[in-house]
């Protein structure tokens, strides 16, 4: 799904990790916090170190697909918004058992640091069970407002599934983007 969500969350993590600003953080487990005025809470420290509290690191096992799918900074998640399925019983490209993957979704383009290529990523939501609640991540590179729905991550993309109830989000490779230098 994509909601802006915990927004903070993700941005938080993004800011913490990618810009070294400490805006985020929170009680969600990640959220943002207001700059230097706030103490760096434990959760923020965890975020700053990379990773969600109590979530063990994973690997794809493929050096051409580097990074930790349980972390918001994993390269495929550049326009994700939601709970990471890798933390919820699924993986970066599969839904948790018993849920249903939405056939419709929004699309982003993310650069793989291993080969420098831009890949088209499909952020399929997993649906039919209540919100996972783990590893909330919100990144908005290329995200557009609701009036351009195909690249909007605030929409519940549990569309065309038996239930529209949102569980978590995946990031599935569709292919190399020819437009951006694949």
């Amino acid at each position: 799904m994509k909601w802006l969500d915990k927004l903070t969350t993700s941005f938080s993590r993004n800011l913490v990790h990618r810009t070294s600003r400490r805006h985020v953080l929170t009680r969600l487990g990640t959220l943002a916090m207001g700059g230097a005025a706030l103490p760096l809470l434990p959760i923020a420290r965890a975020a700053a170190q990379g990773g969600y509290p109590g979530v063990a690191a994973q690997s794809t096992g493929n050096p051409e697909d580097p990074g930790d799918p349980t972390q918001c900074e994993y390269w495929r998640y550049c326009a994700i918004d939601g709970f990471l399925c890798a933390c919820c019983g699924g993986t970066q490209n599969s839904c948790p058992p018993g849920s249903e993957m939405s056939p419709l979704t929004w699309i982003g383009t993310c650069q793989n640091p291993a080969d420098g290529k831009h890949y088209i990523i499909s952020y399929n939501d997993c649906c039919g069970k209540t919100s996972c609640g783990r590893c909330a991540c919100n990144r908005n590179e290329g995200d557009t407002p609701l009036y351009r729905a195909q690249s909007n991550n605030d929409t519940d993309w549990c569309i065309g599934t038996k239930s529209s109830v949102y569980t978590c989000s995946t990031a599935v490779i569709l292919g190399v983007s020819l437009e951006q230098g694949g």
Binding site: L4, D5, M33, E141, T144, P145, Y147, S164
Partner: protein
């Protein structure tokens, strides 16, 4: 002290204490028995200082809510709440003593048969008093978005935005509790009240789809207007503020665009920058969820962050900038106590500024002075949208 003396002292103290307690008992009446059951109501004449805080409740989205918060009072700020299930939308009627929630249920909670329903609440009891099933299971589901449901025509008609992903708008006659029509708006989204009785939607290429209809919901005019902004380079946020019939849309990179929606045909208005050259160099940008608000004096509030870039448009901000649109000037700069995510000014001549901060708590500022006044905690898990009185 001998044992005898000690006993005498103890006896004396005991009598003294006993006498004292009797005096106390005689001076205070017993508390009366209290009635059961006993359920509070609130005056349906809500104060100007009331905000509706919509909690999408990300950790259990099927159980969202809308909380009524009076930001002015010393206590009892949390006045009550409405349920608002599954990416609900919310609107307050000006004309009727009613609140509207469009929501989605499944017969087995997260599964089973889907029912979309417009639930109508009484403002005084906050109890549901009526409902209208929205057919087709097509209501659009998004993070709380005020322009996915709007009242128009002196609140006689409610517009509900659908997304399946085919985009359409359902017209509901609020007085007769009837669905009047459904209007397709392919490639476009959301509903911005427009003209005598109609709406405009923005489209994925930056164009406008404008529709007017009669009281029965029959379309009387439908226009597709050309693109007026570049969605790829600098999208307009989908959350404008209205001043009269003009909608003001901040853009991702820090412009503000006027769109005159007072007539049946939208007219593209002025566009100007919220930033000075120096501020542009510092990459100040609007950002957050509910990034803008307007008060009754027509001042526009925009949540701003420094060092913005592509993808930072939902990051929130450390300051709120206040603009006088007629002069195209900033008149105030409010430095937030805690990083903000969503903002809303209350009604009235001395407005408060509600700020949902990054810790998902509600900070209250004096909007005129920018002074932080208080924090109202735990109005919801993720209360991302604030709605002032209409």
């Amino acid at each position: 002290m001998s044992d005898t003396n000690a006993r005498r002292l103890g006896l004396t103290l005991g009598l003294f204490l006993l006498a004292g307690s009797s005096v106390i008992q005689m001076a205070s009446a017993e508390l009366p028995a209290e009635p059961i059951p006993n359920v509070a109501t609130i005056s349906p004449d809500y104060p100007e200082s009331l905000l509706f805080a919509q909690d999408t409740n990300f950790d259990a989205i099927i159980a969202g809510r809308v909380v009524l918060v009076d930001v002015a009072t010393d206590n009892h700020n949390y006045k009550g709440a409405l349920d608002a299930a599954q990416f609900a939308t919310f609107a307050e009627s000006r004309r009727r003593s009613e609140l509207y929630v469009a929501e989605t249920f499944y017969s087995r909670g997260t599964r089973g048969t889907r029912t979309d329903v417009l639930t109508i609440y009484d403002k005084g009891s906050l109890a549901p008093i009526d409902e209208l099933v929205l057919p087709g299971g097509k209501r659009g589901l998004f993070v709380s978005e005020r322009y996915a449901m709007q009242l128009i025509d002196d609140d006689h008609i409610l517009l509900v935005y659908n997304f399946t992903p085919a985009a359409s708008v359902t017209l509901v006659d609020i007085d007769r509790r009837e669905i009047l029509n459904e209007i397709n708006i392919p490639g476009c989204g959301l509903v911005y009240p427009s003209g005598k009785r109609g709406f405009a939607s923005l489209c994925s290429n930056g164009s406008i789809h404008a529709v007017q209809f009669d009281k029965a919901g029959k379309v009387t005019s439908e226009k597709k207007l050309p693109s007026f902004f570049d969605v790829d380079d600098d999208p307009l946020f989908d959350k404008p503020v209205y001043i009269g019939g003009i909608a003001w849309f901040p853009s991702f990179k820090g412009d503000i665009q006027a769109l005159d929606l007072s007539g049946d045909t939208p007219q593209v208005g002025v566009r100007w920058s919220l930033l000075s050259k120096a501020e542009r160099r510092q990459n100040w940008r609007p950002g957050g969820w509910q990034i803008a608000s307007v008060d009754d004096a027509g001042l526009i509030y925009v949540l701003m962050h420094k060092d913005g870039k592509g993808g930072s448009h939902k990051d929130g901000g450390e300051e709120v900038w206040v603009f006088e649109h007629a002069k195209k000037q900033r008149v105030q700069r409010i430095k937030l106590k805690t990083w903000g995510i969503s903002i809303e000014a209350t009604r009235g001549p001395a407005p408060y500024l509600g700020v949902v901060n990054a810790e998902m708590q509600l900070d209250v500022y004096d909007a005129k002075s920018g002074k932080w006044l208080k924090q109202i905690g735990n109005v919801g898990g993720t209360p991302l949208s604030l709605y002032a009185r209409r």
